[in-house]
Symmetry: C4
Subunit: 390 residues, 4 copies
């Protein structure tokens, strides 16, 4: 990493910390707004609410809607800064936000005010617009994408499971109806009534409003319950394996992306990157361990998958984090390490063996040229010619 | 892939798309028929149904049965086209359908009409024939086979689990009977009555019609519930691991089948195919990535496991999908790639290294001969001598 | 496999089939006896049983006890044949059965008769001795050992889980007591009463006899329920991973045992066998596939892990099953295969590469000697000198 | 292992056994104290307790608090012996205990007595101080750390899941309120009341105090229940995969630590140790098997991951357990094994191949030097010059 880049990283780091503090506060306010909006709308339905209490709830709602309106304006205006990728013009970025899924949800939440501002009138329905704030929770469930992917990947077995579930429900409901109808003509009145019993039993909810009383009916009920246990096992099996497969796939894609983002490899095609990704060995290194030591021979370069390392270069050590790499220049120059690198916390590193690195270059002359060009450029940025993360 | 084959693929593709549109409509109608049939039969049991409503349900049933009859006739008549494999004569294919499991289910659903047409008479039971349509849902639960396989593979541990469950039920029911009988002689009347309590409790349904009231009885109940939690874990564990094992096995068989279907490898015996299948490396390539580039040296051939790739050959790019392969001719001729191949969506490719490919040929002279013969045949089909998927 | 051994295998096979038919009948009778014994004892507790019905139940019980007594006598007498391993004297085998866990359970079930025969008297307790037959179910839950092993392996995390569960129960019970005691002094009377509510809620049984009614109480209840969901996830996670680890370990031990049982490797020490076990590659081969073909060069030997293969040797093909192996003599003699081997059903084979086989021999001269001695012995058994399984 | 060290191991072993016996008794007393403390505090809330019974509970509480005070004093005083690592001065170790999490919990439990001793007065609250003993259970749930780690690692998906759960609860509660409010204005009084129904239903508790009665309401209820089943699958999937990932990571770290603790490798940096850790092959060896035999050529050294082995050296065999290693000196001296090593129970061994061992030394001259120095030191400790663990 050249010095210039290093300086930039520092500055960005500091700004990030400043932002984080402000960001945490803003985030807390917004989450509180969402929670009080939804809670307020729910409390509004309480039948024994005094007029004063209702007025307070209306004030709270108005405050929250104001906050959401400001949030929308800020998100709209700062769209080019928040999400700078791929948009040439600021207005394009703003339009992109306004038309995005999250942007539309944000708009939906504040839309009722504009209606009311345009045509002010009294209607009970306005007391419940706070419920819409529920949709804003999509901003704060980042890992939700993992669930959605797993459920989309496994939609076929899950749908099949649902079909099986429905068929079993109808079968057991019919059986219970046939067996119990004469004994309890009022509760097991019809198959639809019996269906209610079947779903309440199979899902193991068991309200107790409707249940078999004849010995035969209890036998049917017992079988329904045992099947209910088996029924819990099937989606658990599907979802658990879906998670495992998706996580494995993501791990590969992460490796692929890490390699694809190394300047050296940017010009390579997909398969060659996948090839390199497979040469990498994952290593979990505990905290405060030496990874490379100044003066030692270089036998590998490293990509950081998670965690942070410290490179002790003068004037003061710098830190490298997820997605960054080190040790490549010493490998190219076939020189000893010029710095010691320690792990700050437990790190997952991907190492590319010197041998594999060289074999790769021999096999692909175009890659070798690219490497030499990049190395040349890097060393020129350094006035003193010393590779930093060597 | 020779030009002729390519043309055929196109034509088949267009026909498929046309069919898919019609097919989706037909499928929707059939699913609606099944749902309304079953729902109608269930609604018929409602005690407070007016005669007019009953008449409407009968009309709906008649319509659905007509649809099912037409479906049966069409499936029977088009059997040779729907499932062309392995049947020399059209009538053999039709008979095969009529005698298949799904065919028999289809027949079962419409059988009551024929009875009624032969001997027209009034009977309440005819109102419920719609319930039989439930069996037709087997057509629409394609992934169900996976469940069946997993449950069949794991039938031994699952049966053992059932035995343990039953033994525990009897033990806890006896304990609860002994402890609670004196306090509640009417609810815990006998061990069979206590069994009902045990299954209702262990399956965590908990209707609330029968439960312990003495301190000792509540202790027995609490233990039963804690065991109930453990009981959910066991089938979940069995089924989850069963899914994982079956999916792994399927993955291998799919690879094996893919390799076995390559013309080159058709003459090999099972073990050699398994050997080759193990030489293949799976690679997940994101969408819109270059896999091979025109003019580059060929270092591997590829089998498509999932996803689609685009080969940009003149006059217009062609697409290859699951089970197809590319890049083998350039490997055989040791010439540069003659076309660029891009992924259309995320693909899983299996690559066979040029080195492994050649080692294979050296070891098995018969394989080498077969390869040269196939390559010769392929190049002759091409009038211009240019390998398409290079 | 020499001819003699082949003949023995045939004879044993035929006897096995004959036994299986008789065995299935005997097994069915015994299972029926167990079920009717337990059911009978349970029915005896029904309060509205007529004297005639009671008499019938007593007759059934007497019959079942007679059957169990005969079973015990037969198992005792035939102990040397049923379990011939490791016992020099028939009486030692019989004593071993009598002192085994299953033997003691079998005795326990019939013990009450002997008491009654010694001191005939009338007692109500005798009506319930049928319940003891429950213990005999241990004979029919062969996979149960897997559960026991998994639960024993995971006993530490499961116990920790139980401790956490109990601590949470006490905490939530105390919270609910504090919150609800004033509103419902009769149901939430004390912390022990509240504990009953906590376990009924956390296990998601929910009888409905005791539940919070104040808003704060419902909040405590809601948290208890959400924790209840999380509580189901933990044992599921422990048990699922326990199953996976145990199955993986068993797979290794099976491979190890298979290798250790090959005559060739019997003299090796544990580590060397483990070494060889790691050289083996598992291959799943679909049904009706050629594994080795007569006349081809031998490049591996095979151990059958599951499934059956057919070796087409004159006069008629023989079958080899789980734990057997083939292809080793051709490997030793460096001659072409003398027979074709097909899979009868889907098989899992472990193949040992010719190269690894030879490297092994070079490294260990003692192993080489042993191999040559075994091969010599095998070829001498064959009068015609042709190795059977090629 | 030199003779001196061997002797020390013996002495330590004997002392350990003696301590274990005393330890088990002490542990049992302490667990009983915790249980009776908590139980006593819970029983105190029973409304129909006589004054005598209360007095007994107070005596029991006093006894338990005395035991806990003694325990605290002993733990405090023996802190240097119990946890000797890293503390130069006994008082430092004592202070470390007093300030540790467990130490503070131990103090918290006995704190009320000191208050009472300082200012003796009568207060009902003192009857419940036994409940604090609950916190001492943290001492006896050692595997709990695994849960905590898994839940901390998976906190992001679990939090997302909680957000989704809450959003679904609000949505279904609102739907049920809209649908059922008119039919049951008293039970579905408001959305907060409906929320109670939603959580009781979705967690499958189902008390039966509040449930839909209209057909539409039952449809909403049915969907809620089916979602409830799906909801159980998600945390099960997250936690199961979290356990698997954590166990895999731990396994690696354990291997890493084992290698890092070999004197030979102590000077190496983290990455080199990780390299060696990856060269090790895990082998499960059944009980009573020979691992290395006296007089054989040495081809590997072994690290014990789990289980115990017996080395038959004169005058009597010694045992090595988890974390120890054997077979390294014969490898260094390139001499035959001087002792036979057997497994006592099933062991997991990690073997480092002689070839990998030597390659390592060639590549790193500094490592070679270190090895020779260590070997020299070891052989000097032996007066007779015979390496013990061969």
């Amino acid at each position: 990493m050249p010095a210039l880049q290093r300086g930039a990283a520092y500055a960005s780091r500091e700004r990030t910390i400043g932002r984080l503090r402000l960001g945490s506060l803003v985030k807390a306010v917004l989450i509180a707004s969402i929670l009080t909006s939804v809670l307020g709308a729910m409390l509004f339905t309480l039948p024994d609410l005094s007029e004063t209490q209702k007025q307070w709830l209306r004030y709270a709602l108005a405050t929250n809607l104001a906050i959401f309106s400001i949030e929308y304006a800020v998100r709209f205006w700062l769209a080019p800064e928040i999400n700078p990728e791929g948009q040439a013009q600021p207005w394009q970025a703003r339009l992109a936000y306004a038309r995005s899924f999250l942007g539309l949800l944000d708009l939906l939440v504040i839309l009722p005010i504009f209606f009311w501002l345009l045509i002010p009138h009294e209607s009970g329905i306005y007391n419940f617009v706070g419920l819409l704030a529920l949709f804003k929770s999509a901003h704060y469930a980042q890992s939700m994408q993992l669930f959605i992917t797993v459920f989309r990947n496994e939609r076929k077995p899950l749908m099949s499971y649902l079909v099986v579930l429905l068929v079993l429900l109808v079968l057991f409901a019919t059986a219970a109806y046939v067996v119990e109808h004469d004994a309890q003509p009022n509760t097991f009145r019809s198959i639809p009534h019996s269906m209610w019993w079947a779903i309440v039993t199979m899902s193991t909810v068991g309200y107790g409003d409707i249940m078999p009383i004849t010995p035969l009916g209890k036998l049917v009920g017992g079988l329904t319950m045992i099947l209910g246990i088996a029924l819990f096992a099937v989606p658990a099996g599907i979802v658990t394996n879906g998670f495992a497969a998706e996580l494995k796939r993501r791990e590969f894609v992460v490796t692929w992306r890490t390699v694809a983002n190394v300047p050296l490899f940017k010009t390579l095609d997909a398969i060659r990157i996948a090839d390199i990704a497979q040469l990498l060995k994952a290593q979990v290194v505990p905290a405060r361990q030496v990874v490379v030591r100044r003066g030692e021979m270089a036998d590998a370069m490293f990509f950081i998958m998670s965690g942070e390392v410290e490179v002790d270069v003068p004037p003061e050590p710098i830190r490298l984090g997820e997605g960054q790499y080190f040790g490549e220049i010493a490998l190219l120059k076939e020189s000893p390490r010029t710095a010691t690198v320690l792990t700050v916390e437990e790190c997952t590193l991907l190492s590319l063996d010197a041998r594999d690195f060289r074999r790769l270059m021999e096999r692909h002359p175009d890659l070798k040229l690219a490497i030499e060009r990049v190395a040349e450029a890097r060393l020129h940025t350094h006035a003193d010619g010393t590779p930093v993360t060597g």
